[in-house]
Symmetry: C2
Subunit: 346 residues, 2 copies
């Protein structure tokens, strides 16, 4: 038995219906032994540093859908997601005490990770560690492979990005600009619009909440139509985009955050356009690209170091602030990538 | 001036709202000179033999949508579509009197075709000439390239085809079977279901009009889910299929006949499945494959001659029967490919 320490944890109280609220979660404190338990001799014991707030986590707050072979959250148990952690004890020959890793971990101070082969070892710590929850982690790979592989972009094409200041969208826009595309983003506050135009280099941006007619807004920004849509929101925006796609357009279906809280999703009506304009709608999951992580790092790390790629983070301070940060994603409270620093930084 | 002859024509009376009716058309008789007019010195004068009834023609009955660079029908004028014709006089050096061609022509006995370079010359007449409106024409290429190119099929995959006994569907099913796929089709009458199972070699088929729950019907026929959906109908069927697609599934969006007569299309709700199952929805137009016609003929003609590919046609007798045949597509009256023989055969 190792030293006993307190372990603050974020617990899901019950399955969530509609928009998640802070009160759907409870921050509790248990104690934990700082030793890898016997039942997990091949696992690792880690101290979590940063946790990632990601829209897909909303889906895990539903009752498990047995047709999907993924782990849903369990009411009464600690929730989990992407995070950056330091290894305290390792039963895995590829990891040792002191190593930094990123991957799926618990929303708590200390976690036992039972399948450490799924973790990514962090070899470069000259960049902010929190980046491994975002630009150098799942979100970064989503943007990179989603844009370059799924969208098959060409110089000069018209690119539209929804949730454009978010963890993924802000990168898609910058990748598209670097390739010589014309890029318009949409987001839900003036602050985010300013960020897109003034800091992230988007050609144009508009606040969808201030547009009574999304179709008209798109026609205004894309009089020639849209070649590539990087889809993060779904629903009414997708419908409006379908009506404005150019021939041979591509839609990378990455996320549909506007739909996750609805009991019944919005209907989409403009699907005939898929045929008339020969559109490709491609759903993808970043896991399918994890074997190409080193290729991704080789491309993105130099851009970060040379300050050719910007990443806006919104860091919540401490696990106590975790539930608010997580549910804030769904009202757009975050500006940039939402991270939770497990240990308060202030 | 050449010999004057009577020229029976099918005229669209006015733009069509809702389901098209026979009374939306008028069959009239004018006279025509059997000589290429001076204003079309590079065109060809043809005598039409067979006309093709195709679902896309419904779209052309709307008022022109200027965002699509295609020709819509003009009220008061003769309608047009794919057909097989014999050249009577040619201003095109590649065509001569007596040649048989297929391509876009008028719904009338005699037509002047102004852009004959778009016509396909018929070199093989040991097969029924009417086949060039279907299996050896646009529908055949749609099925062939739509299935082999767009769907990227693999042996053993689960394939679902809607409007399965139609001009395209019956071929997709046979191509899929020949590749070793498991193929289920749907259609709207018992006669068509029998045809699919007993003549066209589908593994299973069901009458969608007798299913109160399309989702349940699909689960019954595809307990493992669907790898490939060849989409000819859209709307509620598409929605149900999305809920039953397997990971990495492909949907070839070829047509959405259920939607063409609606003022407002049906809403589709299951789009999140595109992401969760990494589905590719690919719209396509057969025109993009026209340059590969000889490759297609080389593949399909031998199969027809060896009777390894069956094609069910429904031939209406004479132009007078044309309007009923055309509108019959939308109530599913036709059994197999609907053709109009310009010259009555009985």
């Amino acid at each position: 038995m190792g030293e006993k320490v307190s372990n603050q944890q974020v617990i899901l109280k019950d399955f969530v219906t509609g928009f998640p609220r802070e009160s759907d979660f409870e921050v509790t404190t248990s104690t934990v032994s700082l030793k890898l338990p016997e039942w997990s001799e091949k696992g690792v014991l880690v101290k979590n540093q940063y946790l990632s707030c990601d829209p897909y986590m909303r889906i895990l707050m539903h009752k498990a859908d047995l047709s999907f072979p993924i782990d849903f959250f369990t009411p009464g148990s600690v929730i989990f997601g992407y995070g950056v952690a330091k290894v305290l004890e390792s039963g895995d020959p590829n990891l040792k005490e002191g190593d930094l890793v990123w991957g799926i971990t618990g929303w708590e101070e200390y976690s036992v990770i039972e399948d450490p082969q799924k973790l990514f070892k962090i070899h470069h710590s000259d960049v902010p560690l929190s980046y491994y929850t975002g630009i150098l982690g799942m979100a970064g790979m989503t943007a990179y492979f989603g844009f370059y592989d799924v969208c098959c972009p060409k110089k000069g094409e018209y690119v539209f990005v929804s949730a454009a200041s978010g963890a993924v969208g802000q990168l898609v826009g910058q990748f598209a600009k670097s390739l010589g595309c014309y890029v318009v983003g949409t987001a839900g506050t003036q602050q985010k619009i300013d960020l897109l135009k003034n800091k992230l280099g988007f050609d144009e941006a508009f606040n969808y909440k201030e547009e009574s007619d999304l179709n008209a807004a798109l026609k205004r920004h894309f009089p020639e139509g849209i070649d590539i849509y990087f889809e993060n929101v779904g629903g009414k925006m997708l419908d409006a985009v379908l009506g404005n796609m150019r021939a041979y357009g591509r839609i990378a279906a990455c996320g549909m955050i506007s739909q996750y809280n609805l009991e019944k999703p919005d209907g989409v009506y403009n699907l005939l356009r898929i045929i008339l304009q020969r559109i490709r709608v491609q759903g993808f999951e970043v896991f399918d690209y994890y074997h190409r992580y080193s290729e991704f790092l080789d491309a993105v790390l130099p851009l970060i170091r040379a300050r050719k790629l910007t990443y806006v983070e919104d860091i919540a301070d401490g696990l106590n602030a975790g539930p608010a940060a997580l549910v804030g994603l769904f009202s757009g409270r975050n500006v940039g990538k939402q991270v939770v620093a497990v240990v308060p930084q202030s």
